[in-house]
Amino acid sequence: MIMDDPEFLSCGWLSNPGPNHEIVLSTRVRIARNVKGFPFSHWASTGELARLVSSCSAAVRKTSLLRDSEEIHLEEVNDLDLSFLRERHQISSEMVHSQNQRSVFVSNDQRVAAMVAEEDHLRLQVLQPGLDLKSAWGICNTLDDEISKHLSFAYCERLGYLTACPTNVGTGLRCSVMVHLPALVMTRQIQKMINAVSQLGMTVRGPSGEGSEIKGNLFQISNQVTLGVTEDEIIERLSNLTEQVIEMEAKAISQLMDEAEEDIEDRVFRAYSILTSARKLNSKETLELLSPVRLGIRAGLLKEASLNAINEVFLCSRPAHLQKKAGREMGERERDIFRAQFIRDRFKPSAC
């Protein structure tokens, strides 16, 4: 099965540097589509859902991007694999709780995914490292065009693509960028940034999406508005906004370095020492330590580690990823020991 393939388990796509990768870890673009003539997934009967899944899957299999990908049937995978896919944003939390007849196609390079019988019948998603909304949307749009050759979608001229929740209607497009903003947090400007962003039809959330706790100074900025704007406008506005946030964060770093270099240096090296010598590390502590280390690399203080290694550790030190790497289910204590070992190995001078 694809999820046991070491290539699939690695986070190669994320460790390649993308544009503005110093501050933006990744870009995600997804569109919601529903097949004409069927109720939305949660309202469909078992028979309707079965027919929907089979016609959506057949259409996905005809696309050049997902032709060779494996269809993962969620009812056939165990809880660990479900959590693993969730940690990668390749399924939603809704799919974790309701796997019946739901499936997901993931491309071999893991950047492209099609989720079938989600809140909407089809959700097409593209991930890219760094800030790269245009290319992610280009790939997603091509996939949509290819699928549209084989499926008629619920669409009307007035409201565009019709979705289960009216907050997605119109373009059905949701774009988000994962940003690391420790300097804005330290200079206490983050709340103001969040307030300003939320007044611009955009929203700021924790790293795991809606309702998630903000950890490791990671934030997700995404568009809220889907109707009354074109896809290109959404992409351009979020790109411009993210560039402004990047500029604010970069200025905040210079300010910190001018005013409190020794304090920052102290924080960075303390965190790096713990991270590279601890024998037990829990998930939350890891994110809290990775954040100053990442800041140290960006500020040129820490030459021993690379941003690529940090980005990989951000994702691969999460509970399900570690257990997949170990090849077995582990309790919390065992996981914390394994996580510390994994991080020590990853930050060995030869590995960075």
Binding site: R51, G160, P166, V229, Q255
Partner: protein
């Protein structure tokens, strides 16, 4: 708002941003127009409330007095899928694409609040007429038709029969 005026004109400021200029932390307050002019984008909508709260709080307690013969907002039902407006408000999800027409007046204030316009400006979908797209839909309608007949729900059955005929005509064109 705290009554602050825009830093570049005299209108009331809606956006407050802290910027660092020449090492100085500066609070900048702008009105929506100037914010757009200086790259902070617009049009501006008030978006500080999470969407699920907007949906669940939306129309709550606003039980319209039933006009004779007309269903109240709460019990209004989509003729195609039987989802009620109350069901939508509780779950945040509509039952089928036809719900957008069935609940059009009720959805309008919500869309005005969370969206930037009321009309789609994005990509256009050209419906395909190949077998993979129409056949499952026809099969589904036929199944629904059989069930409606078995339940003696002749009004729905008549509608479904017409829909099947139209789809078959479309397929054979």
């Amino acid at each position: 708002m705290n009554g602050k005026k825009c830093g570049t004109c005299t209108k009331p400021a809606k956006i407050h941003v802290t910027q660092i200029q020449d090492g100085q932390v500066m609070d900048v307050s702008l009105c929506p127009e100037c914010a757009q002019k200086y790259g902070f984008m617009a049009p501006i909508t008030e978006m500080s409330v999470p969407l699920n709260e907007i949906i669940s709080g939306f129309n709550a307690g606003e039980e319209a007095a039933p006009v004779s013969g007309l269903p109240s907002t709460e019990t209004k039902t989509c003729p195609a899928c039987s989802q009620t407006f109350r069901g939508f408000r509780d779950s945040g999800r509509l039952g089928c694409p036809a719900c957008y027409d069935a609940f059009e007046p009720e959805l309008e204030p919500l869309l005005r609040k969370v969206q930037m316009g009321m009309v789609h400006h994005g990509k256009t979908h050209v419906p395909q007429k190949d077998e993979t797209s129409l056949i499952p839909m026809i099969q589904q309608k036929k199944e629904d038709l059989r069930q409606a007949v078995a339940e003696e729900n002749f009004e729905v059955a008549a509608r479904l029969r017409d829909e099947v005929r139209n789809l078959e005509k479309e397929l054979n064109q």
